[in-house]
Structure formats: structure tokens, C-alpha cells
């Protein structure tokens, strides 16, 4: 009886503890984890945060009026420019230890000859290494080139050229400047690519025209249609670029919405391009899927279709980050075009965006500008993100073993991280452990690398077992001859026997 009571008490205590514990565990796991990644099959997996939002700063917090439809961010060293399009101004901010403070507001430029000195609906700004500013003064139909003190050096208006439609206003929206002071700009209603200007301001031509997508089906449709229909079809025009970014090596990254839904469904859309000096797309797309944002999407809450890449920022190590204006997500890619991680989402909480229009980086921090809320969100790289970048960096400089160490650290934090497996496999491959490498590659179905490892493994195996191989080959070569010989001998013996039998019977 006593024992029974004891057991009952123990059970009751255990039950009480059990019923309390899960609630505690649940609240402990409820951290701000909203980062994910895609596997070989295009299925998303949760991941620890690689970037975490730390602060949100709007116009009021900077000590000025609130921003209205800000369109662009630009970072140079520790200066961050915010183009506040709706208020016709540009804010120059100073970044000190991640904190933003207002340096000055740019409302107008200094010049004696210019008729209109104020900015009107500016959409982009660029600062060169020597401090000169280039401002896309969109509604004033001009690009202003000033020194750091805003004294105008030159102004670029609509170029007088046969290839530029003279009936349309010149409305530059985005611009970048390379080291030779050549200006590349996107302009509204111009869909032949980037407009390229010489340092003198002279128009050179277009760069990287978006390919016209013209399929066999279109051709057949054209063959079957009447002249009136054909004339209507001629209106089909390639879409404009959304944004451009120039990296350290003067490659221009561009983003656009110019892809078909089927391409997005198949994971082969090309919203991101990297243009060389000839305007050719040289972005590396070695991943199972092209860099294109989300691979899976649901249509709900007015958010339809694939990601629309609005802006891009590229790090010196070749990784780049893009922002999706539909769902307010940020996607990081490595130099080879593999997705590093995706994070963010639509909404008003910290780390979520309503309509992000621009992304920039200062150091390893990311800054994302939201044009609806008019504020800048700062993201800081976590330990997990640092490990990934260290691993990538070590591999790119040739420290394969060190890179593998970092990847192992990454795996300890996220066992689903595909690139870590492939990274360890690649380092094993360099260390000539082919069998181990094959195991890692097969786990994540990296067929190219697996094939390479297998090739070496097979070569080694054949070299080590050359004796057996030769013996087997020789035996295989000899067997038919031996069999033939034996058959012949048996046949001869039978012939002999039958002959003797015949002789006997005679």
C-alpha cells in the first residue's frame, strides 16, 4: 500500500515536471530564426541566422524630417548616401561602429551658370574615389557631376545621337562610374541597355542590351498571324534593368525582371547579370539552380510569382547580396552562384520589409532601404555567417585544409548546409583522399565534383591493382582460344573414334 502511494506520488511529480518543461523548451526555441536555404531538390531548410537585424533608422531618428519614397542607397568607405526622392534631397550619413549620424543634407548644387540648382526627384548618387559626386537628377533630366563641396564640374543632358530617341525626356534613374570616370546609367524609357558616357560627358553608346527573348513558338505564331497582328507584335520590347552596381574590378552587376515564368519555375531565370566591358553576361551559375531568389513561392496576400530582384551589392570576395522587392527577402550568393542563405520577409517588424528598394554594404554590415516605411535596416553578420565567409575566403586563396576546418564548424551549427559538405569534399579532393571526397559529394549530389574524385580514385585503383588487371585481361584474351582448341581436340577424337568404329564394322 505504501509502495503504491510512493509510486503514485512519484508519477504525479514526474507528470507535473513534464507538463511544465515543454512550455519552457518551446519558448527557448522561439528565437529570431528566419533564415533558410535550399537543397538539391529546391526544398527549403531552416538555418541559423547568418545576418541578424540590429537596428532600424528613419528620418526622424536621424534628426531631420521623415523620408518620402527614398529610392537608393550608396556606400563609399564609411559614408552612406540616402537618396530621398520624394523630398528632393540626398542625405549623407556617417557610419561609426554601425551607428548612423547625419552629416549633411544635399538639396542643391553650387554653380553660377546653372538655371536650376535644386534637385528634383533625384534617384541615385555615386561617389568616386576622389570624392566627386554624380547625381542622377531624374526629374530635371540631367546627371550632375560635382566635387565633394557640390561645385558643379559638368552636367550630362540627353545625348544628341541617332541611337537615342530625341522625343523622349532623358530621365536617368541609376548610375555607376568606373575608375576611368566613365558613367554607366539607366534611364527611364530606354531599353537598349546601359547608357555609357565618356569622362568628358560624351555619349559612347549602349552596353549590355537585354537579350530579346524570341522562341520557336513566337516564330510560328508570327508566321500564322496577319499583318495587323504582326505590327502589334513588333511592340514587344525587352524589359529595362532595375538597378546596377559596380564592383572593385569594374564589373557591372545588373538586376532586371526580364525572365519568363517558365524559366523561374525551372530555376533557370537570369534576373542577375554581371557585365564585362563588352556588355557580355559573365555571371557564374554553377549551382543546381541559377541565382534568382526564391525557388518556391506561394501566391498570397498580394504577393505573386517569383522573386523580383530590385537591387544588388557585391563584396570584394565575389559574394553578392540581392534584395527581393515582392517579399522583402535578401539572398546571399557566393562567387560560383550558390545560394549562401536567404533571410527576411514581408512585414513591419525589425528585419522585415514592405518595399525594399536598395541594399548596400559597409564593411560586413548590410543596409537595406525600405521606400514605404522610409527607413534603413542594418544587418550584422553573425558567427555563422562569418564562418561561411571565412571558409569561402580560405578556399579562394588556396588554404583548402583551413577552409575545411571552417566548413566543419559550419556543419556543427547547421547539418543541412550543402555548401559545407561540398567544401569539405573539395578540400579532401585536394588532399587526395578521393574516397572521402566522393562520400561528401554523393551526400549532397554534387555530380561534377564526384565525377572528378571518381576519376582519380579509379586511376589510383587501376594503378595499384595493375597486376590483377593484366591477369584478368590476359585470361579473358586467352579463354576463347583455349575453348576453341579443346573443342577441336574433342572433335578430332570423335572423328578418330568414328573412323575406327567404321573400320571395325567393315
Amino acid at each position: 500500500m505504501k509502495l503504491k502511494r510512493k509510486v503514485a506520488t512519484a508519477l504525479l511529480v514526474a507528470l507535473t515536471i513534464l507538463s511544465i518543461c515543454p512550455a519552457k523548451v518551446a519558448s527557448a526555441t522561439e528565437v529570431n530564426s528566419y533564415t533558410y536555404n535550399y537543397d538539391f531538390w529546391g526544398i527549403e531548410y531552416e538555418s541559423p541566422d547568418a545576418y541578424t537585424p540590429v537596428s532600424y533608422v528613419d528620418g526622424k531618428a536621424l534628426g531631420t524630417t521623415s523620408m518620402s519614397a527614398p529610392d537608393s542607397l550608396y556606400a563609399r568607405d564609411n559614408r552612406l548616401f540616402v537618396v530621398d526622392t520624394g523630398r528632393n534631397r540626398i542625405l549623407e550619413l556617417l557610419v561609426t561602429d554601425g551607428e548612423l549620424s547625419l552629416t549633411r543634407e544635399i538639396l542643391e548644387v553650387k554653380d553660377d551658370e546653372l538655371e536650376v540648382k535644386t534637385l528634383n526627384g533625384p534617384m541615385d548618387i555615386f561617389q568616386t574615389e576622389n570624392g566627386d559626386l554624380y547625381i542622377a537628377d531624374t526629374a530635371n533630366h540631367r546627371i550632375l557631376h560635382t566635387n565633394y563641396d557640390l561645385e558643379v564640374i559638368k552636367v550630362i543632358y540627353r545625348p544628341v545621337s541617332a541611337s537615342v530617341d530625341q522625343g523622349i525626356d532623358f530621365e536617368p534613374t541609376k548610375l555607376v562610374v568606373d575608375r576611368a570616370d566613365r558613367v554607366f546609367c539607366l534611364a527611364r524609357n530606354v531599353n537598349r541597355g546601359l547608357m555609357q558616357f565618356e569622362a568628358s560627358g560624351e555619349f559612347i553608346g549602349f552596353l549590355g542590351a537585354n537579350e530579346v527573348v524570341f522562341s520557336m513558338a513566337d516564330k510560328i505564331k508570327k508566321m500564322l498571324s496577319t499583318r495587323a497582328q504582326k505590327e502589334k507584335m513588333a511592340d514587344f520590347m525587352p524589359v529595362e534593368y532595375n538597378n546596377i552596381y559596380i564592383d572593385d574590378l569594374a564589373f557591372v552587376y545588373s538586376t532586371s525582371d526580364n525572365f519568363k515564368t517558365e524559366e523561374a519555375d525551372a530555376g533557370t531565370a537570369k534576373p542577375i547579370r554581371k557585365l564585362n566591358a563588352l556588355g557580355k553576361d559573365i555571371l557564374i551559375r554553377n549551382g543546381e539552380y541559377f541565382p534568382m531568389g526564391d525557388l518556391q513561392w506561394g501566391d498570397s496576400s498580394n504577393k505573386y510569382g517569383p522573386s523580383r530582384i530590385e537591387d544588388i551589392t557585391a563584396f570584394d570576395d565575389g559574394t553578392y547580396y540581392v534584395v527581393d522587392r515582392i517579399r522583402g527577402r535578401i539572398f546571399g550568393y557566393d562567387e560560383q552562384g550558390h545560394l549562401l542563405y536567404a533571410f527576411g520577409g514581408p512585414g513591419h517588424k525589425l528585419g522585415y520589409h514592405v518595399n525594399p528598394t536598395s541594399i548596400e554594404h559597409v564593411g560586413t554590415d548590410l543596409y537595406v532601404l525600405d521606400s514605404v516605411t522610409g527607413g534603413i535596416t542594418r544587418y550584422v553578420r553573425t558567427e555563422f555567417g562569418d564562418l561561411i565567409h571565412s571558409a569561402l575566403d580560405e578556399y579562394s586563396v588556396g588554404n583548402y585544409e583551413k577552409s575545411a576546418e571552417y566548413w566543419k564548424e559550419v556543419l556543427a551549427r547547421n547539418g543541412n548546409y550543402e555548401l559545407a559538405y561540398i567544401g569539405i569534399g573539395r578540400s579532401l579532393l585536394r588532399q587526395e583522399d578521393y574516397e572521402g571526397a566522393m562520400e561528401y559529394f554523393e551526400a549532397k549530389r554534387d555530380d561534377d565534383n564526384y565525377s572528378r574524385a571518381w576519376k582519380y580514385y579509379r586511376k589510383d585503383w587501376i594503378e595499384n591493382n595493375m597486376g590483377y588487371v593484366i591477369i584478368v585481361l590476359v585470361v579473358l584474351f586467352l579463354i576463347p582460344g583455349v575453348v576453341k582448341r579443346i573443342k577441336k581436340m574433342r572433335w578430332e577424337a570423335r572423328e578418330q573414334y568414328e573412323y575406327e568404329l567404321k573400320q571395325k564394322n567393315k
Partner: protein, 222 residues
């Protein structure tokens, strides 16, 4: 004495089975001669036909399972093995039925059994080519594996051509009549599938009607 006889018969029938099995190799290399003798001279057998169909189904599964992942994007979590088997077996059987329906109307000489045997023997190249390719796929690199798709095409093309010849020889048709019959057999297959779907749909609707009627009555009564 009796036992001896039965053993002798067994041995004979086994020999016949072996012969008709070996005959498959003759058929695929000499299709015109082969298919004629297959049914008219009773060189083929139903047992061997069953085995060939079974091997075809297994080959399909083996290919999915054992081809190296470099050349294989089967996702096993999503595979239902019965769907895979039925997905191949059903078209083969429906082809036989459709072909029989058609040829009975147009002076075909072949019976259902002959059509089935002809179809089964036509699958031999698929079995013979695909399985070695599956094995080899585990010993080659990606660049060397380019041949795999070629061999797949060859295997399918060969088998299809054999089916065409089997229609021609089994029913004693001319070449063009055979091609027409083959094409219309495929149309017939679609009609059969359509009718089956219609049938099952109607039946399930009918059953659903009675179930809801029963439920309604139950609600009213209680």
C-alpha cells in the same frame, strides 16, 4: 516407369522453355523471320513472355535504383513502387487489348496470346541494353557517361521497331497496314484509358450518391 516418363516430359518441356528463351535472341536480330516463326511455328511460349515482361518491369526499377546518381535524378522519397510498376505494365497490357480489338476487325491473324508474346519478345533489347548500361554507369565519369542517353534511345528505338514488325508478322499484314494499325492501336489505348477513367468516375459518383443518400436518410430518421 511412370516416374521416368514424367521426368522425361519435364525435361522435354524444360528444354522447350530454354529453346523459346534462346529464341528471343534470334527474334531481335532476325525480326521478320523470327516473329513469323514465333507465333506460326510456336517457337515462342507464354511462360517466356511473362518472364520477359517481368524482367522489363524489374529493369525499369533497377535502372531507377542502381544508375549512378550522376545520371539519375530519381527522388526515392517521392517514388511509389506500385505506381512505377503499373505505370509500365498498364500501357503494355492496354496496348495488347487495343491492338487485338483493332486487328480482329481488320483480318488480323493473331490471337490475343500471339500479340502478347510478340509484344513481350520485342522488349528484349530494352532489357539487354539497359541493364549493362546501368552497371557501367557506376564506373564512368560524367564526360564518359554521355553515351548513356544514346543507348537509352537505341534500346527504345529497337524495341519500338520490333513491336512494329511483330504487328506485321503476327497478323500477316503489309508494312503500311502494320504502321497504320500501330498508330491506331495507340489511339485505341487512349480511348480505352478514357473509357476506364469515365467508368471509374461515374462509378465513384454513383457510389457517392448512394452514400450521401444513406447519410441524409440517417439524419432525417434520428
Amino acid at each position: 516407369m511412370n516416374m521416368n516418363l514424367s521426368r522425361k516430359i519435364n525435361k522435354q518441356s524444360f528444354q522447350k522453355f530454354l529453346d523459346s528463351f534462346k529464341y528471343a535472341f534470334y527474334v531481335i536480330t532476325h525480326p521478320f523471320d523470327g516473329f513469323w516463326d514465333l507465333t506460326h511455328e510456336k517457337r515462342g511460349s507464354l511462360a517466356v513472355a511473362h518472364i520477359l515482361v517481368f524482367l522489363t518491369l524489374m529493369t525499369n526499377l533497377w535502372t531507377m535504383r542502381y544508375t549512378n546518381f550522376m545520371f539519375n535524378t530519381v527522388r526515392w522519397e517521392r517514388v511509389n513502387i506500385w505506381t512505377e510498376i503499373l505505370g509500365l505494365l498498364a500501357p503494355l497490357l492496354i496496348y495488347c487489348v487495343a491492338n487485338w480489338c483493332l486487328t480482329t476487325l481488320f483480318d488480323g491473324k493473331g490471337r490475343m496470346k500471339d500479340i502478347y508474346i510478340g509484344m513481350a519478345y520485342s522488349l528484349t533489347p530494352y532489357i539487354l541494353i539497359t541493364n549493362p548500361v546501368t552497371i557501367i554507369s557506376n564506373f564512368v565519369t560524367i564526360e564518359e557517361g554521355a553515351f548513356i542517353s544514346y543507348f537509352d534511345v537505341i534500346a527504345l528505338g529497337w524495341s519500338l521497331a520490333l513491336i512494329l514488325v511483330s504487328v506485321m508478322q503476327v497478323h500477316d499484314y503489309s508494312f503500311f497496314k502494320a504502321i497504320l494499325t500501330f498508330i491506331f492501336s495507340i489511339a485505341g489505348m487512349m480511348i480505352i484509358v478514357f473509357l476506364l477513367l469515365l467508368f471509374f468516375d461515374l462509378i465513384s459518383d454513383g457510389i457517392g450518391f448512394f452514400i450521401s443518400l444513406y447519410k441524409e436518410i440517417m439524419y432525417r430518421l434520428y
